[in-house]
């Protein structure tokens, strides 16, 4: 009998203590975990997904910050939070604060946004060649992706144009007259597809200029253009995207739209118009 009483007492204590916990009004930290941050780097506006457990179903009590700059949460459920990188964010920790508890989701590097631009009527004059009976010559028109402009600098250029020939600032001189010295580590690759479909420079083989050859092969149907013998028109081959590693190891892609002034084949040639996308972040291969 005594044993029975003891047991009952023990049970009642246990129940009592239970109910006393439930009734406790003092705040207590919520329990949630973070298992993954979908991106470790990205530009402002990139969508970042945080996965974990124990998230609330509403964003009211939870904040996501990128190096202390609060981000907007676009969707949330108990296991995922989607937010976008806020405007003034800088590189640092991504933190999630729910109630009073804050958890580090990981480092996030803020990247500079891709530079997308169109260069119109870049002149690429040439002397000699093409039936004149004289040797090809003339100064190349140099272009620098970092500034997005034509340059006369001996060193701060990535690609250069003369007639239908495109040189890169990497490798050796080819031996043609009046060509610029190569002092960078630029290279070129030709990718087949639409401009948008060339999303990354990852895994591409970059060729450099070398004695007697250009990284972008010259001649009709070899590189970026073909020449119609009937109409005497140089057309950029559709579906050829030129991807470059710049002299500093950045990446860019271009699509040549026209070889003629104002993109009008009845006007004078040796005037390049092209779209380009340049990734200003060192070594970053993303091109979309």
């Amino acid at each position: 009998m005594k044993k029975v009483i003891l047991l009952l007492t023990a049970i009642s204590i246990a129940f009592t203590s239970c109910s006393s916990d439930d009734d406790n009004d003092t705040p207590q930290a919520v329990y949630f975990t973070i298992s993954d941050l979908s991106l470790s780097k990205g530009t402002v506006g990139s969508e970042v997904t945080i996965t974990g457990t124990g998230f609330p179903n509403s964003s009211d009590d939870i904040t996501v910050s990128f190096n202390d700059v609060q981000a907007v949460i676009t969707s949330i459920n108990t296991t995922t939070i989607v937010s976008s990188v806020p405007a003034n964010a800088t590189t640092g920790e991504v933190t999630v604060k729910y109630d009073t508890k804050t958890i580090n989701a990981g480092m996030f590097t803020i990247l500079d946004p891709l530079v997308e631009n169109k260069v119109e009527n870049l002149p690429a004059p040439q002397t000699g060649g093409q039936g004149t009976g004289q040797a090809i010559g003339g100064v190349f028109t140099k272009f620098d992706f970092e500034t997005g402009a034509v340059t006369t600098s001996e060193t701060d250029w990535d690609i250069a144009f003369r007639g239908t020939t495109i040189a890169v600032n990497g490798g050796e001189v080819t031996g043609t007259a009046d060509e610029p010295a190569r002092n960078g580590n630029a290279g070129a690759a030709i990718v087949t597809g639409t401009f948008a479909s060339a999303t990354s420079a990852e895994g591409l083989t970059f060729n450099q200029d070398a004695s007697t050859t250009f990284a972008i092969p010259t001649g009709s149907d070899n590189g970026w253009y073909n020449y119609n013998f009937m109409t005497n028109i140089i057309s950029p081959i559709p579906g050829k995207v030129l991807v470059f590693r710049t002299r500093n190891g950045n990446y860019a892609k271009i699509e040549i739209l026209s070889y003629y002034l104002n993109e009008d084949t009845s006007q004078s040639g040796r005037n390049y118009t092209f779209n380009y996308v340049y990734n200003p972040n060192d070594g970053e291969t993303v091109l979309e």
Partner: protein
């Protein structure tokens, strides 16, 4: 060996004479369509309507009433046949969507040579002494060998019949000072007949682009002379001999860097044709034929002030061909036709190192039988042994089944081939302005070595082993299946066709030059097909009014290009932004120079009471593209070289007076349709012609 045979043949035949006899009846007014006889399809005289093959026949009457003077004009008015200028600027005939390169042109059954970039310019031929034009569509290599893939056009000249001297003299003048003068004399003197024909044709040309210097078509004049003799040595042995001469002179000019180079281009052609027809026995006829032709073309352009020569090119092609044919008629009236021959081709031209020649031996057989009464079967094959490419075996099978007295079905399948031409094998050409080089396949390795020794070659991009096996002949398999319906005044036919080509020869880069340009050579790679249907309907209201309509639907595509599109490898540029977009199958328009729709509508009206006739012919061609403008190697909806569809209307009226005189007036291209993209189509051309028949 063949020389001996040929010599023996002086003894010999008759089948062809018989053919001519029947043909001549066509000219008389009593002619009915039953008498229309075709020689080309089987090499024996066959009634047009009984043939199991798609055939077009153009009679002398239609040619004269239409007021046409050159072969291209009258062919262009036939359903499914168009004349087009390709990228090279030279004009040729297209049949069932098949380019001129693959169409054999014959005159009295023997081939003509002299093509410009593969095109045979049929405007070279006057229609002044033509009896009829026969066009057999679909492969006919089983009888004719090389080049007969798309069809055969055979021009049959008219033979003299009457004892008294007969003939005609005519003068025609038209817009652009186009003058055509004909003299045709024919006579039979007992068993001997002769025919003499002379034609002079000239024009001041025309200019569709007055703002640019030079004319679209430069002034020219040409002469055709043809003398023929026929002699019946006996009932069983007769002779046919023909000599033809053609000469054209055309002004030429070309502007390079503001310098106008001037000169002229000359063409000259000889044909000598000798044939003995021999009735060996009642059932066996033999023909012994000897044929020689020589075509030369030369163009020289120079700066008239400095005497700098821009181009100085020569072309001299010869063909020599003896052939023996026999036809044996069995008791059941089935016919076995066999033949063998030897052909020697020779070409000497600019951009060839040396004169080159081919020789080939061939034999063919064809059996034509009515297996059961309503079913006619023609089965045939030809074997060609050639010095420069692999042997060809070309079979053919054709069936015609008479379902009822008015309705018949026909079907045929045949193989056709075209031997690689001299240019594809021996060319050695370097463009002086741009610097690229084109080498014939057979000389490519040697020439490449020479260039290499000169330090002009950067790298060779194809393995040399690729250049060692001989180039294959281009070949096709053609299928035709159709129905004909003929009742009283109605004559209707419909024919579905499909031609599958393989081993088409095109250029490919074989090496890169140090000047950044390429070295090209020829390779077998393309596979194309043309398919569609053709229909013709004609109705005779009464003896005097004939209305006809024709239509051809055509799909012509490159299979390798279709595969590339399926694989997402074909791109184009958006015309607005110039940005790359992927080409989808529905964007692929097809091969250059092919129109999806071709149609014609004709009314011929005879007014016997006043000895007059009048006719109107409407020709429609839907849009087509001239060349790829966006660099992806095919014609898609984004290309900008499309020529709009158009209609040309031709009218002619003629009246006979004073018994022997006939006056004709007319207008070609009545509504003056012009397009600078169609250099071969001048604006409205009025003409008037006076003909004296004697």
């Amino acid at each position: 060996m063949w020389v001996k045979k040929m010599y023996l043949s002086v003894l010999c035949v008759f089948a062809f004479v018989k053919g001519y006899t029947q043909e001549t009846e066509i000219d008389t007014t009593k002619v009915t369509e039953i008498d229309e006889v075709i020689l080309t399809a089987t090499r024996t005289a066959r009634q047009l309507s009984s043939l199991p093959l798609p055939v077009t026949l153009v009679s002398k009457k239609k040619i004269i009433q239409s007021g046409t003077i050159r072969l291209n004009e009258i062919l262009n008015e036939q359903t499914g046949i168009i004349t087009v200028a390709d990228q090279s600027g030279f004009e040729g005939v297209q049949i069932q969507g098949i380019a001129s390169d693959y169409i054999l042109i014959l005159i009295d059954g023997v081939p003509l040579v002299g093509r410009s970039a593969g095109n045979f310019d049929v405007s070279r031929l006057t229609v002044g002494n033509i009896k009829q034009i026969e066009v057999v569509k679909g492969p006919s290599s089983s009888l004719y060998g090389s080049e007969a893939l798309g069809g055969v056009i055979n021009i049959i000249t008219s033979a003299p019949e009457t004892e008294k001297l007969s003939g005609n003299a005519s003068y025609r003048i038209g817009s652009f000072t186009q003058q055509d003068i004909n003299l045709d004399i024919k006579q039979r003197i007992k068993s001997f007949r002769y025919g003499i024909f002379a034609n002079r044709f000239s024009s001041e040309g025309y200019d569709l682009n007055p703002e640019t210097e030079g004319q679209t078509v430069n002034p020219f004049e040409n002469y055709t002379l043809n003398a023929r003799i026929y002699n019946d040595f006996s009932e069983n042995l007769s002779l046919f001999a023909s000599a033809r001469y053609y000469n054209q002179n055309q002004d030429a000019g070309f502007i390079v860097n503001d310098t106008r180079f001037e000169g002229d281009s000359k063409e000259e052609e000889w044909n000598a044709h000798l044939r003995f027809d021999h009735n060996w026995s009642k059932n066996l006829t033999l023909a012994y034929e000897l044929y020689y032709t020589n075509y030369t073309a030369a163009e020289k352009l120079a700066d008239p002030i400095s005497d700098d020569v821009l181009t100085d090119s020569d072309f001299d092609q010869r063909l020599f061909r003896p052939e023996v044919r026999s036809t044996y008629t069995f008791k059941n009236s089935s016919k076995l036709t066999t033949g063998f021959g030897f052909q020697y081709d020779q070409l000497d031209r600019t951009f060839f190192d040396e004169q080159v020649d081919f020789s080939s031996q061939y034999a063919y057989a064809q059996y034509d039988i009515n297996v059961i009464n309503p079913l006619n079967v023609i089965v045939g094959a030809r074997f060609d042994n050639h010095s420069e490419y692999s042997n060809q075996f070309s079979p053919k099978l054709a069936l015609r089944y008479k379902i009822t007295n008015t309705l018949a079905a026909k079907a045929s399948i045949g193989y056709g081939f075209k031997a690689p031409d001299f240019r594809q094998l021996y060319f050695d050409f370097t463009n002086s302005a741009v610097g690229y080089t084109v080498l014939g396949y057979n000389v490519a390795i040697d020439k490449l070595r020479e260039l290499q020794d000169q330090g002009q070659i950067l790298d060779i991009v194809v393995p040399e082993s690729d250049l060692e096996d001989p180039l294959e002949a281009e070949s096709s398999v053609g299928y035709n299946i159709g129905l004909t319906y003929k009742k009283q005044n109605w004559n209707t036919e419909v024919n579905f066709f499909r031609n599958d080509f393989k081993n088409l020869i095109d250029t490919r880069i074989i090496a890169r030059k140090t000047n950044g340009q390429n070295v090209f050579s020829y390779f077998n790679f393309d596979k194309i097909y043309t398919t569609g249907l053709e229909t013709n309907i004609s109705y005779e209201f009464n003896k005097n009014i004939n209305i006809s309509a024709g239509y051809q639907l055509l799909y012509a595509f490159d299979k390798t290009k279709e595969d590339a599109i399926d694989n997402g490898e074909v791109f184009a540029r958006d015309p607005q932004t110039n940005e790359t977009i992927e080409v989808s199958k529905s964007d692929y328009f097809g091969l250059v120079n092919r129109s999806r729709h071709n149609a014609n509508f004709k009314i011929f009206y005879d007014i016997p009471s006043v000895k007059a006739n009048i006719n109107v012919r409407l020709l429609y061609r839907s849009k087509y593209a001239l060349f790829d403008t966006n660099g992806n190697g095919l014609i898609d909806d984004y290309d900008t070289s499309f020529v709009d569809g158009f209609v040309t209307t031709n009218v002619a009226a003629s009246k006979t007076f004073c018994k022997n005189f006939n006056l004709q007036i007319g207008a070609n291209n009545l509504f003056d349709y012009t397009d600078t993209l169609i250099p071969t189509l001048p604006g409205i051309q009025f003409f008037t012609k006076i003909n004296y028949q004697f």
